[in-house]
């Protein structure tokens, strides 16, 4: 092949345009599907926090359960997801939590009962912890431990304490000390902030 100056440039431009076009097309044609998946994911997670069963795992049933039980109210200029029981009575709040983990930020929600007395449930929306180690924070056995933790006994803002420390209420993850610590830190901080402000206090 003869050495030319312009051919490599034209070749690169053409091939880049070609692949960019394919990717753009794929991205465009799946955008709705991905957005739908993400919304469904959020619905599922909020249902999990409040321990609400949907009729089945079908998208329609999950969406229906979400519409029936969960709504949002405006709180400090942002939407706050709340759990409505029968008669439009508020049973709990999904408090957004976020902070830094070991590798990146951890985001999620923690469900707090309407009388601020206990944790209803915990779920993470996104994190980038090591799969199999810190990533195990999104496994059920870890998250289930948080259900029903009493928030009234603590006065110094340490709601989550790992066993075997005094007053410990949750098991940390073996091999992921730093991630476990990050989770308890961000939970304690964000819970404390929410408890101080409160929605109707």
């Amino acid at each position: 092949m003869k050495k030319s100056f312009s051919f490599p440039i034209i070749f690169m431009v053409v091939i880049t345009a070609f692949f960019t076009f394919i990717l753009a097309f794929l991205n465009y044609s799946t955008a709705d599907k991905i957005a739908f998946n993400q919304e469904l994911e959020l619905n599922k997670k909020l249902l999990y926090i409040f321990d609400i069963e949907s009729l089945s795992e079908e998208p329609e049933d999950i969406h229906q359960a979400f519409m029936d039980n969960i709504g949002s109210i405006s709180f400090e200029g942002e939407d706050l997801y709340v759990y409505y029981g029968d008669n439009e009575q508020i049973l709990g709040y999904a408090v957004p939590i976020n902070g830094s983990g070991l590798w990146g930020s951890i985001e999620g929600y923690v469900g707090v009962s309407a009388d601020y007395s206990k944790i209803l449930g915990l779920e993470f929306i996104s994190h980038s912890e090591t799969p199999g180690l810190g990533g195990r924070i999104s496994e059920d056995w870890y998250k289930e431990q948080f259900r029903g933790i009493d928030l009234t006994k603590t006065t110094d803002g340490n709601y989550i304490i790992y066993k075997p420390l005094a007053g410990g209420n949750v098991d940390a993850i073996a091999g992921a000390t730093l991630t476990s610590k990050s989770v308890s830190k961000l939970l304690n901080e964000d819970l404390e902030e929410f408890m101080k402000k409160g929605v109707n206090k």
Binding site: M12, L23, K33, P131, G132, G135, G175
Partner: protein
């Protein structure tokens, strides 16, 4: 120009020239994802897909690509396929996409893909290149699964998340931590090398006897 026979390609990729065991490339991800078998399997399938198709594409374009910009072209092709995998997982297998997280993007940096593009696809026709990609990817996947099997079994007492060892089993926490990956990978390489050396000796012996 005719390429190598599929049998030879697979023998090279899986055993004689196994990317992880013999060429010692793709080690970073082999160490990172092998604490659970499921993670290893998905990573392997993703890698097979990307290596096969990028080798195929590189091979089609090999006679038109100016030599001095070939690496740029290869990276572009690899990146495009990885993004396709990522979009596909997000749209149709959101659970998988979540489980793999950042590792999908990291397939781009796996040395095996570019290694095969440079070493094989650049010089061979599309179909053998495609097979070569599949073979190398399979070789990588199998090694990962072997390491993950040992680590998950001893570290969690499970295989693919299913409990196989009973309550009496005390999990070896070291197995799910990075150091264990180094030990086990080294032991696996050691065993392979020993077997391969023996095979070589045997062959030499046969030739001598003739």
């Amino acid at each position: 120009m005719k390429g190598d026979s599929p049998k030879k390609i697979f023998k090279m990729g899986l055993w004689e020239d196994n990317p992880v065991l013999v060429q010692i490339i793709g080690i970073c991800s082999a160490l990172a994802v092998t604490n659970l078998m499921l993670n290893s399997l998905i990573m392997g399938v993703g890698l097979i897909f990307v290596t096969a198709l990028s080798s195929f594409t590189v091979s089609i374009l090999r006679n038109y690509t100016p030599k001095h910009i070939r690496m740029m072209v290869q990276v572009l092709i690899i990146a495009a396929y990885v993004i396709i995998v990522d979009i596909f997982l997000k749209a149709y297998m959101p659970e998988m996409s979540k489980a793999l997280g950042p590792y999908v993007g990291l397939i781009i940096t796996n040395c095996i893909i570019m290694g095969r593009a440079e070493a094989y696809a650049q010089k061979n026709p599309p179909i053998p290149s495609f097979l070569d990609g599949v073979a190398s990817g399979l070789g990588y996947t199998l090694v990962l699964l072997v390491i993950a099997f040992i680590r998950e079994l001893l570290g969690f007492g499970t295989i693919f998340g299913i409990q196989v060892l009973g309550e009496w089993w005390t999990p070896w926490t070291i197995m799910i931590m990075p150091p264990a990956a180094f030990f086990i990978l080294a032991v696996v390489i050691w065993i392979t090398k020993t077997i391969q050396e023996k095979e070589k000796d045997n062959k030499k012996g046969q030739v001598a006897n003739l």
